[in-house]
Symmetry: C2
Subunit: 284 residues, 2 copies
Amino acid sequence: MRLNKKEWFTEAFENQTAFSVRYSKKLHASQSQFQQIEVFQTTAMGRVLSLDGCFMVTEKDSFVYHEMITHPTMAMVSGAESVLVIGGGDGGTITELVKYPSLKSITLCEIDAEVVSTCREFFPEISRGLTDPRVRVVCSDGAAYVKQFTAEFDVILIDSTDPVGPGKALYELEFYQSVKRALKEGGAATFQTESPIMMSEVFGSTVRNLRLVFGDEMAQPYLCVIPSYPGAMWSFTICSVDKKDFSSPSCCLSLDYIEGLQYYGSDVQKAAFVLPQFVRRLIA
Amino acid sequence: MRLNKKEWFTEAFENQTAFSVRYSKKLHASQSQFQQIEVFQTTAMGRVLSLDGCFMVTEKDSFVYHEMITHPTMAMVSGAESVLVIGGGDGGTITELVKYPSLKSITLCEIDAEVVSTCREFFPEISRGLTDPRVRVVCSDGAAYVKQFTAEFDVILIDSTDPVGPGKALYELEFYQSVKRALKEGGAATFQTESPIMMSEVFGSTVRNLRLVFGDEMAQPYLCVIPSYPGAMWSFTICSVDKKDFSSPSCCLSLDYIEGLQYYGSDVQKAAFVLPQFVRRLIA
């Protein structure tokens, strides 16, 4: 069958596979200093945000991304007070973070102010954490921003786009070293590390590079499922300067008091670190 | 962007989302007594089999389906000798089953002989188990076929298509009762139960119906990721007449001697039963 361009938003991945969603209305289209920003109203996925033609946020499945970048990391760091999010201009990760009473300072460093304002307007539920008084939004290049800090943050979350365009600098060794330096003792950083099934080379090389910087046992990938992203099997990699057994239940704080979880649980965290055989081989 | 119909095979799900793959050549197209059968050569997914316009088998990701319907069930049933596969005309599940020396009798009941012959021709690696001398292929209606047996099989695998067209009868209570009756004491049956994220109602009602027949604790869903299927988060439900703790490591045989596993491991099995919160709520 052929999809009518006027009714469908399509993201083609390497011009070989494509995921499409039918929309009833295009709510927004603009070209920022950095990228093309569009918002669609759809039946299947709710509202959809695309950046440069790629799915970034959907009301249907973004809870998986935001919960799974945030809670495994917070469960590792007892009493975290300061957190930096790099990227993540949609505010969804911030909305998960503001659920933690221990946090005193929450900084979002997003390069593109227009992503933040678009998401405030069209995704009020996902971005609602941005109004929390502990949150400071810095519109700046994350790679340059993090360089100025030493032992400043308990938690750093790299909520990045793909390694092209504005997200490219967030996949370089120098950036990983800056993030490590900016972490306090006992802290942890989690990086979005792409799909092990559709972007197996980027996944493998990113994890290997993180292990070069943090040490082999100090950087562990874990998985979740995000249907609107290419391959749907999605990875994050959690990195630490002084913790090892990320998947052990004893290492994790109980997050039972966290409200409104749709994906995460401490057993889900543990299971997420169990990698299918082909994924293990990509990082062996 | 618009995808050129001549180069892309597209499966639209409920006319609201679509997954497409670009092909270099259409290798086969026929209309059997039951359905439209097509085979495409693609770069991203290898060869692709579609039935009535839906992705069924791809060389890229079908190992997930075939390993995850087969090995968790076989790990539960010590020394299984007889197995029945209903559906599964591509032969991929059979190819996993023939790895077990304990099996003496392996029956494939596929309604559409043309699916079997097409897969023998175009998917020789996936279907190679069909040549094993223990395998018998019956081209018949699986729901009618299984009715004639009582306490006949140690393992039954329901490798079905969606609950439309030829697959519809495989989602009815009467069929579940027939499968239960056909199981030997200590046996287990595993049903393909669709995507909890894109087909949440079918998933929920199928699991509830299986629990009506087998008992609440005797039917447990588990998950894996199949990118070419709608939603990619895919479920199977394992059912038994006398086993309870499907995810306990002590309940599982070690399958370390099984060759060529790309997804399954005993830890992967255990993790697959840990359901994200929203999936638990669908079957609560």
